[in-house]
């Protein structure tokens, strides 16, 4: 059974990139358009990895990460922040919210895939 990756991202273009990238790499991808939906999807599908945008409508990525990490069932799922907040201090903020990794946008798809493989094996 292939691994499940939950992508929480409000921009269609960016979801499409990951859809193409992760699909061709053989992963199943679940999508959510904002933080709140992401938290619900995580609870429902229990993915192996969550790629979390930060700046999103309804609920931002920090809050969504906090909620996921507060849920004992979901706590173990690694969460990688994928964000265009690239100012110094943004990575610290993401980690403080509970993120296990940090990838700045714009990222290189090759590097993104390498990172995903590193976590999922």
């Amino acid at each position: 059974m292939s691994k499940k990756i939950l992508v929480i991202e409000d921009t269609e273009d960016n979801r499409q990139i990951l859809r193409d990238l992760l699909g061709m790499a053989g992963y199943d991808m679940i999508e959510a358009h904002d933080g709140a939906e992401g938290v619900a999807q995580a609870a429902e599908h229990k993915p192996d990895l969550i790629l979390m945008d930060i700046q999103m409508p309804v609920m931002d990525g920090y809050e969504a990460t906090r909620r996921i990490k507060a849920n004992p069932d979901l706590k173990a799922i690694p969460v990688i922040a994928v964000t265009s907040y690239a100012l110094s201090g943004d990575e610290d903020k993401a980690r403080a919210a509970g993120c296990d990794g940090y990838i700045a946008k714009p990222y290189s798809p090759r590097q993104m895939l390498a990172k995903v493989r590193e976590i999922l094996g």
């Binding site: 921009t11 273009d13 960016n14 499409q16 990139i17 193409d20 990238l21 061709m24 700046q55 265009s84 907040y85 690239a86 100012l87 700045a104 946008k105 714009p106 990222y107 290189s108 798809p109 090759r110």
Partner: protein, 1121 residues
Amino acid sequence: MKRGLFLKYVILFIALVTGVLVLNAALDLWFVYQDNRRAAIDVQREKAESAAQKIESFVREIERQIGWVAYPQFDTLPAEQRRFDYVRLLRQVPAITELSQLDREGREQLKVSRLSMDVVGSNLDRSAEAAFKEAKANKVYFGPVYFRKESEPYLTMAVAHGGRGGVTVAEVNLKLAWDVVSQIKVGKDGYAYVVDQLGRLVAHPDISLVLRGTDMSKLAQVAAALQPQGGDEAPVDAMNRLGVKVLSAHAFIPALNWLVFVELPIAEAQQPVIDSALRDLALLVVGLLIAAIIAALLARRLVVPIRALQEGAQRIGGGELSHRIAIKTGDELEALADQFNRSTEALQESYATLEQRVEDRTAELRETLEQQTATAEVLQVISESPTDVQPVLKAVVAAARRLCGAEDAAIILQQGDHVAFAAHDGPLGGEIGQLVERDRTSVMGRSITDGKTVHLPDVAAADPVEFARARQLAEQMGFNASVAAPMLREGVAIGCVLLRKRAMGPYTSRQIELLETFAAQAVIAIENVRLFTELRETLEQQTATADILQVISSSPTDVQPVLDAVVKAAVRFCGAIDAVIVMRQGEQWSGVAHEGPLHAPIGGAFPLNRETAPGRAMIDCQTVHYPDISALDPVEHASEHRNAKLMDFNAVLCAPLLRDDTAIGAIALRRRDTGAFMPRQIGLLESFAAQAVIAIQNVRLFTELSESLEQQTATADILQVISESPTDVAPVLNAVVSAALRFSGAEDAVIVLREGDETVVAAHEGTLSTPMGLRRPVEGGNITGRVIFSGETLHIPDIDQVDRAEFAGSIALSREHGWNAAFAVPMLREGVAVGAIMLRKIARGPFSPRHIEMAETFAAQAVIAIENVRLFTEIQEKSRQLEVASQHKSQFLANMSHELRTPLNAIIGYTEMMSDGLYGDVPDKAQGVLERVQSNGRHLLGLINDVLDLSKIEAGQLVLAIEDYSVGDMVNTVMAATESLARTKKLALTANIASGLPTGHGDARRLSQVLLNLVGNAIKFTDQGGVEIKAVTAGERFEVSVIDSGPGIAPADQAKIFEEFQQVDNTSTRKKGGTGLGLSISRKIVELHGGAITVQSEVGKGSTFTVSIPVSAVPIKEAAQ
């Protein structure tokens, strides 16, 4: 001389004998030493040579014996024959222990030995041995010494057989050589030894040294002897191995190149020398004894007569002049005794006359002593009587009479044209103090007139005309001889000392001299008294002056004690009975201080005119002196006449009190009797006048100072309150009213502030009622309203005196609050009154101008405080706004970063995935495009990062990455990045790069960013035409221009565009997009390179932006802002 001479002779003699003996012994020793040494060396050398010869012949004998078998045909003999020959050789020569025969190739054919079995035809290859090679080359070979069984020395000897023959090698026992050496004996401790050519010990009495192969070449004598040509220079004096000094001799053994040394310890070698030295010492002692005896005998013969001479001289010296010395030695000593006797006789004769001369001299001395005593006595009297000259003069005449052989002595002093007796001692006439006309024909008169001593030994015989008066007096008083010495002060006679006697005859020169001394002493005494008196007067005046200064300094606020002290001092020191100080008040004057019995004009006012002395002194600013008032003009000085009569005075001295050339008063001295004041007294009075002025000045200044200090303190207090209360004006206004009230003498102080058409009471202190916060319309009918309207101070000394219609409001308020006088000053800000300070009092009467002035100062301070508060509030508001703006800016940056990165992510992501073939194969041409997209995407990302660096730039933290760059490449990169944009807008994008531009040195990425920004802007704001990039050098700088045909920029906006968040106008910003940061960043980057960015533009005619940077940039560290 008792022992001295005797001892001296004896010692001299012994020293002489000793010297000769010592010199003799030393020379003797030196020669003995040299002979002994030479002999010892010769013996040693002989022994060494003999030993060398023995060893040489021993070796040569063996060589000769071996020669019997060393012939060419020997090798061809049958083995048995050869062995027989070798055995025979061994038998003949006991020293040979082993013989070996080597054939011409060096192979051992035969070995015959006393110690081992014979070996025949072993064919052992010994061609490499030195014995074989050396013997083949040199016929004979002597090897080095070696030891067998560690006891016996051996030597390898080889002899070549000649022709095509081989070599016979013999091992030779050197025991004989050792025996030779061991047998050598030199003296008791001498010994011999042999060394080989390397200095190694070959033979020595102590065989153990030899066995150890001791190296002797370290010894100086061995080293020297081993030198190729140094054999003869080897030192004779040397050290042996044990460090003992030895005499060393050596000989050479030519056959073996060995050396034989014979050495004898120096101590032993020199034993004969030491023996000789002991002999010489014994001889020296005997010589000394003999010398001592002879010396004692000789000295005794010389000393006895000298002692006789000494004794005789002692007796004569002791007064025994009749003694004669008897010495009969018949030599120089006898002659000396005779000479001595003759001198004694002469001395005896002269001694007799000496006593008379001493008596005469003693009398002379006594007389001189008396005179000196008298002189000293006079000096004593002078020193005891500094203030009174009379005792001195008396002492002088007494001494003169006693010591100068006169019956009568007198001192006469000159007084104007007259003379008078000042002191007299004697029976002749002369009344003290009586004035007599100075007459040059008298003795004293002539002396005083001429300043010379006049001496008449016989007055009766003197010239009747020249000395008429002298003759007359002499007859009258019965004296016959007279002398007078002048008393000279600075060359002028002030009197004389006169001597007279009844007996005729001259005074001795000594007496006259003494008289002149007395005259000088009298002058000194008179001078002393004069100086002392002057000094005392001066001191008294200075004391008085100092006293007054003391009073001045202790009374800085009150002038009266000073004036009182001045009049007291004036009476005391200026020779008056009465003194008064008067002060001028406009056209009048009145007395303020007085001392004395006369009536004084204290209190009343007198008109300032020239009829009185004070008036005249004040008008003329000059001292007025009336020695006799009755002599003054009765009309001109009418008042003075009247006052003099009224108050009973007849002389006046009056000095003006002058301040800055103006008389502020006068000080007058009055006397009952007529007579002039002395110049000293006039001077003193003027100085008292000056002191009085100083005191008056002091008090005035002190008062002014203390008032000004109080005001300044109040002002400072208010400033303090202002500084402590930057946000609240109320404490300041309260402090102002409080200070104004304290200094004005009013009952009440109020501050009202204008607020629109009303005034409001903002501060109040005092007894009158005024509610705080009371509002009233601004109107001209009351005081504060009028002051606020006019902006001028208003002063109402009496409310009942003002115009009832005009001040209706104020009058009503004065009735209501119960005040009668008031003034108000406006609080002016930029000429407009923002309020007023009003002071009110119940008593009627004017406020002093100073108080009004102070209130004006306070008003100004109140305005400052109000302004401060206003400015403070404004600044606070401004800084809050600035903070908000700064926060907005940071937020903006963060947002922009996010917004730009999100789309960029899609661009870069898709491009990379396409390029990686994720969406299927890509044609080569498309692959190139994808790469350009990717590179532009990354460039854009870099630009975004740069924009984010703005904060760093702002903080001065940007660091340039300096590297080499090409302006051409930079322009091309920028062209490539922007040409698609230009194409979209249908603009012509052209580049014009001068050829041969040098390689630049700077931060290439940042400079590209600048250029990209400029070109991007140009394209962005240009709708038709084109954009041109132009690069040239100007001196040591690059000038890169971006020229567009856009709308242009108005001159007023040209400076603003380089500031952050500024674009020409907001509409164009909205239309064209952009952050408004580009030019700001560009300018900073260029400036960090030490360059400048400028714009030339005209509305409607396009713009040219020019970047000018040094070809080789030295980064400028921008100060943190």
